[in-house]
Subunit: 251 residues, 2 copies
């Protein structure tokens, strides 16, 4: 088995970073690796905004619910679906770009997300630590303003990057059979669900999590506290509006 | 610099595969690495459908415009945004899942895409070859039917996997400065675009591509032949309908 592979099994998300900077040369090397990631038709319809400036990181922090990583990590990478550059090239070359629609947003978001994961794996292979911020798609409108993203550009994920100052325990995952299906999808019976989630539910940290949140089950911590219907509906509306504002909903 | 990293710079997409099978044990090892990928709130809201059966691959082939990789690769992996499993768990645990909206689709699609890229990098580090099929998001409705995906599940990308039977030249990429922005987004002037795309436009294969397609510029090959407005609008409508059909557009 290869050497890369082993490290992928042992990874953990890093939320505390040392004072040590991520050198420009190192960052370029990580991003260059990211740029070799597969992209739809080799269009490379994504951009990466590299934020190191503390003032801008402070502006971004509330978009990420003031999670400490945003200001404490030396580097914040915002990965964006980006048809703006490609559209400009088309117009300069007597070509009419038809990329102001939802499919094009998904194409560009896919390019951005796959490249993000390559950059993260490249970073971790150098001993750096990363943390993804899922808050990006909640707060696209504010991020667009702060990072001055033009039409055709929408942020889809953010990664904080730095040298680790912690070595947390690895979090649990569902058994592999929970997330894979052979040949076609086999829907889950109640018995399947009981079995697949039993390990997760029986962990001592899960029990703590339930108590801390004053809930009856671990699932309720997700539905009632962490990812509520009310928030999801609100952020869905905003995200769809932003897709329209940024020119991705013309049919 | 680490050993993983170097290989990420030298990768190429592989479209021709040898007869050699991808052993179950190897595939499990790759997928296990994929399962360690960051996921929103550790919800793991994605699934991977592993198709090896030739009959099912033949059914899938037209969804991917009959690209030869689908039937010729020993393994076809369909990565799906999947809230079905999580919703079932919630309902079994007296929790009301509010994940039938667009934000939840994007959350789940992100989980699926990041995991896909980890599996691909793990595969390439073992000497295997991969090819992404961007056609997946065009043809979600047919794929849903063939792979029997229930509500809450939408395919977002497909990867063909096998041992390489070709060693193609590496494709070109834009210079790194084309896809990166320091601190905030700096929009492109015409002069920027000229400079950033000059290398791509001056390649001999680009000229061949223009001639073959009977076009005036390389950009026109994209807008008029490969990714047309008409197709994009059609596939956008279908994809939005499918998100509704699969229960991701309730507000």
């Amino acid at each position: 088995m290869g050497t890369i592979s082993g490290s992928l099994l042992n990874r953990r998300t890093i939320r505390k970073y040392s004072e040590r900077d991520v050198e420009e040369k190192m960052l370029d090397y990580l991003l260059l690796q990211g740029s070799r990631t597969s992209t739809t038709g080799n269009m490379q319809v994504y951009s990466i905004v590299i934020t190191r400036d503390m003032e801008i990181k402070k502006e971004l922090a509330p978009c990420h619910f003031n999670q400490s990583m945003v200001t404490e990590a030396p580097v914040v990478l915002t990965f964006c679906a980006d048809f703006n550059r490609f559209n400009k090239w088309c117009r300069l070359r007597k070509a009419d770009p038809g990329y102001d629609n939802f499919l094009s947003f998904m194409t560009a978001a896919t390019d951005a997300l796959l490249a993000a994961q390559t950059v993260c794996i490249a970073a971790e292979s150098e001993g750096l630590g990363i943390c993804y911020l899922g808050t990006t798609i909640y707060m696209t409108r504010d991020i667009i303003k702060i990072l001055r993203l033009p039409a055709g550009v929408v942020p889809v994920t953010t990664v904080t990057l730095g040298w680790p100052a912690e070595n947390p325990e690895q979090v649990d995952r569902l058994p592999l059979k929970a997330i894979t299906h052979k040949e076609t999808y086999k829907d889950y019976t109640d018995k399947d669900i009981e079995e697949l989630y039993s390990q997760k539910e029986n962990r001592s940290d899960s029990e703590l999590f339930i108590r801390e949140n004053n809930k009856e089950t671990l699932a309720q911590v997700f539905t009632d506290v962490r990812y509520t219907r009310k928030d999801n509906v609100h952020f869905s509306e905003t995200l769809l509006q932003v897709l329209e504002e940024q020119g991705f909903m013309n049919q």
